[in-house]
Subunit: 298 residues, 3 copies
């Protein structure tokens, strides 16, 4: 079905968690429609209903995805009027993204070259013969709508069989609450939002190294780090110092580091310990990273 | 091995959790016996030893399973005299169910058309040549007994090679503690047991909509909801109101809903929030759903 | 690529957890290089940075692994000078082990017949054409170094293309803190370290049954069990009695058992309950198992 010379797969992400059978049932549906197609789980423990977190995971996966179809379901609006869509993108990598049109898919579509086509999925289109005669209510579109659509697309069924074309520019953008990065060059500092805390406690920030360069921070500078909230009580701000490094190896035990992480993003890190715990940071917190006396580049 | 025109798989469910290597080792055993056969994980975080929860997960998966073999292991009695069995069912979908005969498989067998054949698995039957010379003690039948049996069955080895036939009616039924549903038509209420709380806090109930219809509740009625225990302290019962709806979309923020869920079962739900937390409900609790003044159908 | 007559796979273990997309991204990289190769997840919830726990999981899987490549990543030293290696082993089962050279791989190599060849992996060797032009910093060698190496090896690329040969005896051994087993024959007791607590609360011990036999404990003896710490407060040692049994079935409700587990190791167990919780035991604790009056074999 896909660009020649590559082996397609379905790439599956959701907030279904791993306690229930949701992920497994979706796999069975994919297998029945596309039995020889590999399914790669990108992750299923997106916090429930957290569209922004799911979208960020997809974007971090983006550069590594091969050909095929992305199936992504973080769907607080299931059972409302929100559309289900299949989005054809123009870049290398996967050709179709399938899921709810609630902002989850739009950032990935952008990083994959942009949407060239958007198809409104029609419930029940191409319903398999074996589909249960009395299925449950409309609360599990991952199983009932998105998995069948993804599986049909990945085996080469034309998208026109799954629904009708919509305006390629109609995709709902991700709603982000407030400014993510604010560069305060005058004050020699940037305020930046925490976008992800990973399992190891590394704290990824919403801004890149460009902004730090702009305020004159040298590669090996020591910077000040102040947690501005909102999760920290006003009156007792946590402040610390971090050293800009290129690898964990450059850090001593207990020394806070500021480095470019494996996604090319700025991150606050400790060596073999949790920077998030040390700084009491969570997603959405704002951190001020500033020049210290010894920072000024010569 | 299976009904023609369909692609078999092994469908694997257990209470092994995901912290240890149990699931991975079973996959290696399946792969060595049936290397080209897909293995679909239905879920492995069944609460430890909770046969009823595992059985319910299997039943919810049932209508979506394709051909092949179900491998299910929730096995508090491993190392006791309980049988290991392979159960042939008569319906569409998977042909064999493999696991301990402790009630785990029986409800799924029933929903798949009933057991036509039960084979007592013989430990060590068809043991692969590569099997470790000094395996461990008899506490891991998922690896040592059930996975080899499932893998041999799915590649077409006759069941007679794995053990001896038993009475097809001999399958141990699921032991359920007490009455699941009690319809109190006289009082205009039903008492019903909580059978599942999913990751999103949706509360699935042991009774269907038939009972509510019987007591005269209209589709759009508002019902009273009272938590009778046992997990709530006597003297402070939680009571609330819920509206019968067809989709999350019909609910306002914070409004409790009563709807038919994706398995065709009644469930108490909130929109984008946990009804279980709101009502302090867990599996096994009894909920009374009753007629309110505005309920009486015209 | 592998020994004839068997179906290779990649066996993947890590401490990446299941909350983030780390495992999924590694799968996409494996799939792009080796699209038809099965990938079996041995487990990804090794405690963060816990090389000993990851190593123990690998060793427990060892006897069941088929042909192919083991990809194992527990890598606190990523971004430091530690080597990445591919280790060729001489036994049956997998031919190559790939991961950081920090002790993680060495015990598995030993149980698989020993290392016959060690190759220092060269970052960027055989980098695929599709690799992102601007990848992130050097903190994710699982994705950037080890997965490409494992995938190339499993499809038959010679190891010489991935790096240069090193001394086969140069593999870093697992660093274990202190004595694991101490047999105190004179006192009729052994002191032994807890090496693993599984999901069910079974407590695996660092010593086997040989030592107990040596101090004259019969098969069905009752032994004394005393928790010596370090996780128990001095002054209030927990002591108990356990009966040597061959199966859970032999235990009454609440009766502590000492048995050979599914890995051939001694374990303290309860029937359908957690021995770890009962004895307040965790990994690293020392347990003294001793002769009681009724123990002395006739």
């Amino acid at each position: 079905m896909d660009r020649p010379g590559r082996s397609p797969a379905v790439y599956f992400l959701s907030d279904y968690g791993t306690d229930d059978e949701f992920v497994g049932v979706v796999h069975t549906v994919l297998h029945r429609v596309a039995p020889t197609m590999p399914v790669i789980d990108l992750g299923h423990r997106v916090p429930p209903f957290d569209i922004a977190a799911g979208s960020a995971m997809l974007v971090r996966c983006g550069p590594y995805l091969g050909s095929g179809v992305v199936l992504a379901v973080v769907d607080p609006g299931v059972g409302t009027g929100r559309r289900g869509v299949a989005v054809e993108v123009v870049g290398a990598g996967p050709r179709w993204l399938v899921g709810p049109d609630n902002g989850l898919l739009e950032p990935l579509a952008k990083t994959l070259g942009g949407a060239r086509r958007v198809v409104d999925l029609r419930p029940g289109a191409l319903q398999p013969r074996w589909w249960p005669a009395e299925p449950g209510g409309g609360t599990f579109d991952g199983r009932d709508l998105f998995a069948p659509a993804a599986a049909h697309l990945v085996v080469g069924v034309p998208a026109s069989a799954l629904g009708s074309d919509a305006d390629p520019g109609s995709l709902v953008p991700l709603c982000t609450d407030g400014v993510l990065v604010e560069v305060r060059a005058g004050a020699g500092a940037i305020d930046v939002r925490v976008t992800w805390v990973d399992r190891f406690g590394n704290v990824q920030l919403g801004g890149g190294s460009t902004e730090l360069d702009a305020i004159g921070l040298t590669e090996a500078a020591t910077v000040s780090v102040a947690v501005l909230g909102p999760s920290v009580a006003i009156g007792s701000p946590i402040s610390d110092r971090a050293r800009r490094v290129e690898a964990f190896a450059a850090l001593g035990a207990g020394e806070l580091g500021l480095m470019v992480d494996s996604n090319g993003r700025l991150a606050l890190v400790l060596r073999e310990a949790s920077a998030a715990r040390r700084l009491k940071l969570g997603v959405g917190d704002i951190v001020r990273i500033g020049v210290t006396d010894e920072d000024i580049a010569g």
